[in-house]
Amino acid sequence: MASSQQSKYVVRKEYNEPIEAPDLTIRSWLRWLWRQLTSMKIALFLLLLLAAAAVPGSLYPQRSADPNGVVIYFRNNSDLAPWLDKLQLFDVYSSSWFSAIYLLLFISLVGCVLPRVAVHYKALRAEPPAAPTNLSRLPEYKKTAIDKADLSNAIDYFKSRKFKVVVKGNEIRAEKGYLRETGNLIFHISLLGVLISVGLGGALTYSGQRVLVEGESFVNNEAGFDSLSTGLLFDPKNLTPLSLKLNSFSTTYDYLNPSNYAKPIDFIAKVTSTVDGKKTDSTIRVNEPLMLPAAKVYLTGNGYAPDLVIRDANKNIVFAGPVVFLPQDSNMTSLGVIKVPDAPEQFGMMAFFYPTVGQLKTGALTSTHPYTWNPMLSMNVFVGSLGLESGMNTNVFDLNTHGMKQVAGGKSGIKAIKLTVGETKTLPENLGTVEFRGIKRFASLDVTYNPAELFVLLFAITTLFGLVLMLIIPRRRIWVMKTATTVEVAALAKSKDEALGKIVSEVTKALKKKKKK
């Protein structure tokens, strides 16, 4: 359409950064590339690209946030998943393409912002610039006929409003709102600070997980954790020496309100920490981590650990102690694995624990309440090699029944062994007996420390501070030109500024006032 073509033409004409055709020397080509990279349009483009690139990370499970989800995705989409993995779609936020976009964005930011720091520093010390030759072309302009106008009233006006003012002959130059650019620079530099602190934090951080049954304790070293992940620059030898004992764990349930009957309201882990030989009792709850020097301890999960004693046919104890059962639903139906490698004939058990046992319509057992009102243990027994001698690292929560013979539960012909607290039952195949001694609670704890965290927060705060300044404070330049019979007042702003016209009228009004005597 004619009108839209015309408007495009206007844009071209006014576009202040004409695209230079690159000539053949490498240097000028690089300069051209740099100018492109640091232009506003590229920043805009990269921001949109970054937003789009972040989307797939919410569609596919991510190894960082949901490793189990990735495993399940691989299982359900075995053809597609390896291809997606090659495109790093399960590690979007550490992928080469996502990193490339934000690194380019930050290079663009540095290239754009650093020269502006120098320019702004000069502008802060310099006088407001001279008036443009044709004042009437500025966004706000007013010409008034005043004979021999007195500029002092206008100067007072500017000074009382904290403008920077200079008078050059018949011209007043006034400028205000330098903080807008200061804020803009603070914002962008702080963003760089956030990025660097996050990167540095990632390299210097550690995070260790440990499951503790009531009464157990652990020491904050590599061997003390069930799993430990460290940043590139973190040496596990530098772990803060401390030990932690879980004294008790409890859950508060709501029995008062039908709308959230039996829902957990509070999880409370009572612990004793020892740092430098000093013992301290504390409570860890969700939203209330334990703050220790250079370590924070979080409560991330909990469950039941039935306490079992297994004796062989000769009544020798071959296994004793609490076993951590992993909760499978909100009523804490829990699954656990017991391996008995020290028995005359190796065997293992896959067991369900029901804190309050109930029955589904199908006849299968289930838990109907998360608290131990009517606890029951149901065990399937497998005889055969547990595979522990092979030297392979086996998962304590997984029983590989391949090559084992099921002797209780399932299709073995013998019913699963059911136990209530205090009971002892005989195992099939002359394996001995199992005693359900009691129930303990366990807590999953996460010990972590990120030394750069405070810097991330500080830079985030300065980012916000800079943002408010750059968006709220208007930058204005006002010029007053006097001739023998007229006064021209004109104004220019860096942003959409509604008050500009008002200021021009007020200055004109001030000029019309009679001389102060």
């Binding site: 359409m1 495009k8 844009v11 006014e14 202040n16 506003m40 349009k41 805009l44 921001l47 949109l48 970054l50 937003a51 972040a54 989307v55 990370g57 919410s58 499970p61 991510q62 960082s64 946030a65 949901d66 979007v92 936020y93 995070s207 508060t252 709501d254 029995y255 008062l256 309100n257 709308s259 959230n260 829902k263 957990p264 309201i265 509070d266 999880f267 409370i268 709850r285 969700v286 939203n287 981590p289 924070k296 979080y298 991330t300 996460d446 972590t448 965290e453 991330v456 927060l457 985030a460 705060i461 980012t463 916000l464 943002l467 408010v468 968006l471 709220i472 942003s495 959409k496 509604e498």
Partner: protein, 292 residues
């Protein structure tokens, strides 16, 4: 130890009735405002009868927001906490804040012309809250029991309100800068004026959204043992922030400040709605607080 408090289901029922009452009044205001708009189309921008009906429509909207406020308040009292812990509560509180901010803003800015859109939007939100998202009052799960719930979520609601108003203005801007010669478009201010207004609401929204993001990270560090973990809700909060950051760059890039920036506003607000509905309900993540 957190005390188990008795929830007041009778008061919650009353609250729901009040919200439904407010919904009815909003429908009335929407009809009045829509009628006033069509009247302006046929009789001109400054038609006296149309302006009067607009005033009445806004007044009715004010009454609706008052009734809704009592509804939101009683919901909070019934639950013994802030009334924004699940999708239903977020919707009724959010739509209350949208209307409240809009009505206050009409005293400072000439934005009466989007009243029909605002009341229509609020009718849609309360309607779907009542039919799709309604849940009984429940106590907070341990992860939500923190003062950051008050700060983080309330500021997110405020940000959404400002973004919503900016998006309505941007939608009109896009319609106006198109080829359509519809009489309706003449009722609205110039493209430049719309651009300015939309920008002003967007920058406040952006500041509030940045705060929401930072507050969320501080809370996540407390509750989830890391300040940022690319949880689906975190991802979308980041995406929204980046879109609006792109919008701010667009407003100072020649050739982008008008229609294209308005499109970015709409894309940003669509992402907010997407984050609130689809991400809440269908995406796996830690922010599973819809209560559904």
């Amino acid at each position: 130890m957190t005390e188990v408090v008795e929830l007041n289901q009778e008061l919650a029922t009353l609250s729901r009735l009040l919200v439904l009452g407010a919904l009815t009044i909003y429908v009335v205001s929407f009809l009045l405002l829509a009628w006033s708009l069509t009247q302006k189309v046929s009789a001109g921008k400054n038609d006296k009868a149309a302006n009067l009906v607009e005033k009445i429509g806004l007044g009715v909207m004010g009454l609706a927001v008052l009734v809704q406020f009592v509804g939101v308040l009683t919901r909070g009292i019934a639950a013994h906490r802030v009334p924004w812990a699940n999708m239903y509560e977020f919707s009724i509180t959010g739509s209350f804040i949208v209307t409240f901010i809009y009505l206050v803003a009409t005293f400072f800015k000439d934005i009466k012309f989007i009243a029909t859109f605002v009341s229509g939007f609020v009718v849609l939100i309360i309607g779907s809250a009542n039919t799709l998202f309604y849940v009984q009052v429940e106590s907070l799960m341990p992860a939500l029991q923190d003062y950051w719930l008050v700060i983080h979520v309330s500021v997110a609601i405020l940000a959404t309100a400002f973004f919503m108003i900016a998006a309505a203005l941007a939608a009109i801007l896009i319609a106006k800068s198109g080829k359509s010669k519809s009489k309706l478009l003449k009722v609205f201010p110039t493209v430049e004026k719309l651009q300015k207004l939309s920008y002003q609401f967007n920058i406040i929204g952006f500041i509030l959204w940045s705060f929401t993001l930072i507050a969320g990270a501080i809370w996540a560090d407390k509750a989830w043992h890391r300040f940022w973990g690319w949880d689906t809700k975190e991802v979308w909060t980041f995406i929204i922030w980046t879109i609006y950051a792109a919008y701010l760059h667009a407003t100072t890039t020649r050739g982008w400040e008008g229609k294209k920036a308005a499109w970015l506003t709409l894309i940003g607000f669509t992402a907010i709605l997407f984050n609130f509905t689809i991400v809440n309900l269908f995406f796996k993540g830690l922010h599973v607080y819809s209560g559904l």
